[in-house]
């Protein structure tokens, strides 16, 4: 039995969020049930939903702060997790959580998880090709570099196996060196020879350093790529992050590729993606430490951080520092400066928020303090 039009209307009339309505419809579709059973199911869903909701006037912000803060005290101060086989380390634990709420422009250990299109994901060789195309290749990956002090030359010996593996030719290497340094590059018995502008020892060493730093192929920010098999697909983990560039690569599945740099997600995919990234990163960090915090607390934090359309930190340069009320800002940090500046500007405090009213000693707009009593009309009074 499928759902009748009337039953569908009954479900949409419950005032449930879209996702729950859809789940309910999915679950009920093609199931056998009587009228009474249907009523029981939707009745139970509705009452569970209402039960999970929070009452008006509840101090959700304080509860969220406590609910994230308390497990935070149990987190390890300094932990590093080695993702995959080895080597790529990712900041986790308390430092990572702080990094998330501080909305740092670049996290201390940027990493990406790159998932591939089905054809590439199953084939080890194709996956490796993508990895090499993405990984930033320096001259040291391709051969060795030496100086000839007698001739004042830089000699670059290229390993042709490495060149073939990374699909780059020695002409291409020479061309990149030429355009990046602006110097002539000669080919002499399988070696690239370069000379600095001035034949001095210092210039020579500087040139070597410059050549070592050059990115010949791949994406500049991505220092290393590790391939790991997960289930039946190969997944790439990177050290360094460049979401925008990586998403354009052939074989990369843009829908399942992510980075731990929240600001980057905000710039590339938009503010709602950044909000989800904050929620996911914070939950994962807490879960990795064996702590479970209700998502709704983290969602509240993520919402506050992103509600202006850009990722704001919780703190001086973000949420706390941008409060409209002078007294609320003064309560947070550098009290005297805030009050002095406000006095100079002649600011007005409307005493709308909680902190301001606590300071001046008025009831706050929370809990019983936000209830306005009125006498019942005579016809409403039960005799």
């Amino acid at each position: 039995m499928s759902l009748s039009e009337e039953q569908r209307e009954q479900i949409s009339g419950l005032g449930l969020p879209q996702s729950i309505q859809e789940a309910l419809l999915d679950g009920l579709e093609n199931e056998q049930f009587t009228k009474a059973q249907f009523d029981e199911v939707i009745g139970q869903v509705k009452s569970d939903y209402d039960h999970a909701g929070v009452e008006p006037c509840e101090a959700v912000g304080v509860i969220a702060a406590q609910s994230i803060g308390e497990p935070g005290t149990q987190m390890t101060m300094r932990t590093f997790h080695y993702a995959g086989v080895a080597e790529i380390n990712v900041t986790l634990g308390l430092p990572r959580l702080i990094e998330i709420v501080d909305a740092r422009k670049i996290p201390s250990t940027p990493t990406m998880t790159i998932r591939l299109e089905p054809d590439y994901a199953r084939d080890r060789d194709l996956a490796r090709e993508v990895a090499w195309a993405i990984e930033s290749t320096s001259i040291l990956h391709l051969g060795s570099i030496a100086t000839d002090l007698a001739e004042m030359n830089v000699l670059i010996e290229l390993n042709h196996e490495a060149l073939a593996q990374r699909k780059i030719t020695d002409e291409e290497v020479a061309e990149t060196l030429r355009s990046e340094t602006g110097l002539a590059v000669e080919m002499r018995d399988g070696m690239l020879v370069m000379a600095p502008e001035e034949p001095s020892y210092r210039e020579l060493l500087q040139l070597v350093e410059k050549i070592k730093r050059l990115s010949l192929k791949g994406i500049d920010g991505i220092k290393r790529v590790v391939i790991r098999k997960e289930g039946d697909e190969y997944v790439l983990y990177t050290e360094g992050s460049a979401l925008k560039e990586v998403l354009e690569f052939e074989g990369v599945d843009p829908a399942r590729t992510k980075t731990n740099n929240i600001n980057e997600i905000g710039e590339v995919l938009g503010i709602e993606a950044a909000r989800n990234a904050i929620i996911n990163e914070a939950t994962d960090t807490l879960r990795e430490q064996g702590l479970s915090v209700d998502v709704r607390h983290i969602m509240l934090v993520a919402d506050i951080m992103t509600c202006d359309g850009e990722v704001k930190q919780i703190g001086r340069h973000g949420v706390s520092g941008e409060k409209a009320s002078v007294l609320a800002r003064a309560a947070f940090e550098v009290t005297v400066n805030h009050i002095l500046d406000a006095a100079v500007r002649g600011d007005i405090d409307d005493l709308r928020g909680v902190t301001e009213n606590v300071i001046v000693g008025q009831p706050i707009q929370l809990g019983t303090g936000d209830v306005q009593l009125v006498a019942k009309r005579r016809d409403e009074v039960i005799q």
Binding site: E55, G367, T368, V371, Q372, L373, I382
Partner: protein, 62 residues
């Protein structure tokens, strides 16, 4: 008697305000043995006879 849907904060405020009225000598709407104004107010709340309600402006009531 119909039970209006109040949040716990609204119930607390209403009972508190009513208990204060009773304490200050307001006529009681129910028959009771109790002499504690708060207990009387709670009993009145349970029966829904308190002539006080709340004004909700900014929020939509649930």
């Amino acid at each position: 008697m119909k039970a209006e849907k109040y949040t716990r904060y609204e119930r607390a405020r209403i009972v508190g305000a009513r208990a204060l009225q009773i304490f200050m000598g307001a006529p009681v709407y129910i028959k009771t043995e109790s002499i504690d104004p708060l207990e009387v107010a709670l009993e009145e709340m349970r029966l829904g006879v308190i002539p006080i309600t709340v004004k909700r402006d900014r929020r939509t009531s649930r």
